[in-house]
Symmetry: D2
Subunit: 243 residues, 4 copies
């Protein structure tokens, strides 16, 4: 089995400014996610955060990243356009991208999807149940019929995304809403997975089923061997254009 190199990116602000969030994620959301992934066979995991130089996403780091995981919320606008551009190029070249929760409003997600990515939301201790609608899909291997999260932030439809290439999970919320919670896309040679849960005030990333989905998604999004494509002016393959 080939090794998959994962970089977990986190904004890492809430955890440093709000005591109650720091209690849930003392080393940051990225550390919690990375630590779960490190227990998986065949994954090599590093982290990067907003306040590092170039947000920790230098050309070199991206070049050595097979799958990038993205968590952001309050500081989307602080992410430099140059870095966003760099990430997009890498996705097009085959890097996998897993966008978590409030990352729906990140520059990179909106740019890759081409839509507003807006939604309804509510912080109010909703009960969430994520139903598997595509059993047999590698991303939900080992999950069972649904994931039960006793308390989570609500995200509700309409979610302004292009129709997913594959819709894997749909959430039920006790407040009366539904949400497309597990959405697959391809952009260039890169595979993208959006996964809804993970509000900073809940211990969602400590949940083993959530960790399992993220690990599965990493394997699903890992690039297939690189494919070189020729673009631009090309000569005919048939003599005299085949005539």
């Amino acid at each position: 089995m080939t090794t998959i190199r994962v970089t977990v990116w986190n904004e890492f602000r809430h955890e440093r400014t709000t005591a109650e969030i720091a209690q849930i994620y003392p080393a940051g959301i990225h550390a919690a996610i990375a630590s779960a992934l490190q227990r998986e066979e065949g994954l090599v995991v590093r982290t990067a955060t907003l306040d590092e130089p170039e947000h920790g996403l230098t050309a070199d780091v991206l070049e050595q990243t097979d799958v990038l995981i993205w968590w952001g919320h309050m500081a989307h606008h602080e992410v430099a356009d140059e870095v966003v551009e760099r990430v997009q190029q890498r996705v097009w070249a085959g890097m996998g991208l897993i966008v978590l929760h409030s990352g729906h409003f990140s520059k990179i997600f909106k740019r890759l999807l081409g839509t507003a990515c807006d939604l309804k939301w509510r912080e109010g201790n909703d009960h969430e149940r994520l139903w598997v609608v595509q059993p047999g899909h590698p991303i939900v291997e080992g999950i069972g019929e649904y994931i039960d999260l006793e308390h989570e932030e609500m995200y509700g439809e309409h979610f302004a995304i292009p129709q997913p290439e594959t819709l894997v999970l749909v959430s039920w919320f006790s407040g009366g809403e539904v949400f497309r919670s597990g959405c697959c896309y391809t952009r260039g040679q890169g595979r993208i997975f959006y996964f809804r849960p993970g509000h900073e005030r809940y211990p969602t990333y400590h949940n083993p089923q959530i960790q399992r989905v993220i690990a599965n998604a990493v394997r699903w999004a890992a690039p297939t061997g690189p494919q070189t494509i020729t673009f631009g002016n090309t000569r005919p393959l048939e003599g005299d254009q085949g005539r």
Copy 2:
């Protein structure tokens, strides 16, 4: 505007054997649906039922049908394979097909989809809310953000269908389930829409929003001008196979 010829097909058994259902649909579910459609401009509507000769779906009737609506439940097995075959051929040739509620288990739906079409269900006065996930789609024109049905039978995931070409509606149920309630497919030149609500014990087909979705779906599924396709052995379009 061209006229669209609609045939509403109904099993028509529950309404004749159960008093409480007869009260809701005295002339049958088909009559309720047809009567709502008859108020629409440009639609010519007829009905057909299981116990008519050839289930009311003779070659002639189908030939004159642009969109067929299908409601069945307790007698799927009584539908003759020959008629199912005939309907399938017409769908392939361009006839639209709208499958309602328990029609998910009809021979024609399973044959066109190629899957088991099974699901979870519960008769228990669930509250259903059908959320629009594809606003701007012609089938949900004029519906608003969701349809609220105070009481309905529950259908829950996993619904064993191929992933819809377009998913238009997702249901929330008070018992904790979700369901892909409005699903578009193409088979041959025919457009197919599956629409979940409509248990026989509830007055669902008297609901104006439900009627609106069905009318919208009729217009969406109506065939585009017939397209003749050549199959089989064909001569090359380029001399000497282009070489």
Copy 3:
């Protein structure tokens, strides 16, 4: 039938600087396309070009446009980002968009699709045959099995786009290439159609079948009645979040 308001946008540079192109399109590509559309029932057509103030696409013009047609080639970079942003917002709100030929590299197309939109090309008098792969689709109504273009610029795969929601046409080129030539997308409430043919050195937009596809696409892309969507913080629909 409701009137559909169409705006045909053209860069309008080649036709003013190259005599041989001016001969094919004396009043510009936009004029040729508009004039064909004006013969269609129920369409109201105007044009706009790059060198008009705001490229002819003021907020007011866009507000009164149901479907925008886009042809550009040598001056994509001259299109102001502010106008691109405005067009994107209108597509999200429901305006249809038909992107023609070299418009594959326009800012608006790349921004809505989220990919590089690159491809192979060759100016060399290739013979093109556009095969219908989705007969029964409204965009190819009346087209028959294929469109034959004696001479056209070649565009070849790989075309760096997201997989189309519906692929309607595939081109064969005498030089040995294929291309996904008719591609449907949805972004927000807007429907988008990419249609490949139309190099400025060939009289492609005078071809009646090409005109027919564009007219069909206009009707397909025309917005359904506007749908208001609530985004942001929302209150629960179920008391105490349903518990």
Copy 4:
């Protein structure tokens, strides 16, 4: 890496009755395909043919098959409905299925797809070029931009299939036609890949690129861990249906 158990099924008639075909595939098409797969790490390969009892596809064999490869042509009608039903059930339960060439008209393919699966064809030494339209997809890993087959039978559009969930390859033919040659579907928990080339009169299955695609497809179609799904009457997850 888990072992994948592959069964290569072949009608095995042409090779026994036509000398020139026997020369190309002395031990049968199945043997040629199996022998290429046996060189792959992690695959365990067996074969089965039409004239064996139960066509070699007993319940037991299918239960021990992760991916089934299907080649048939002149004797589709001889395949027992009972075996077709059994294969369909296994696909729904997660078994992968790879349908080759003239298998497009097999009972199992038509039943799983729900369409006529008809097409244009010509035996005439066409030159075929299979273009990759989804680079980065695991099925075309290591293939490059296209596969070149000097001589093959032509299959042309329209191919009467449901739009593929993912379209991976498109063929160019020297006679002027195109064809969707690599098509992915999901039915139940099973993944299906249709791969066009492989006429019995050409040595196509000895081509290393063709062998590579088939091996890649086996890995792609291999089932994810089995997922148990509850269907039928179910109790609410929320007390008193959440009210």
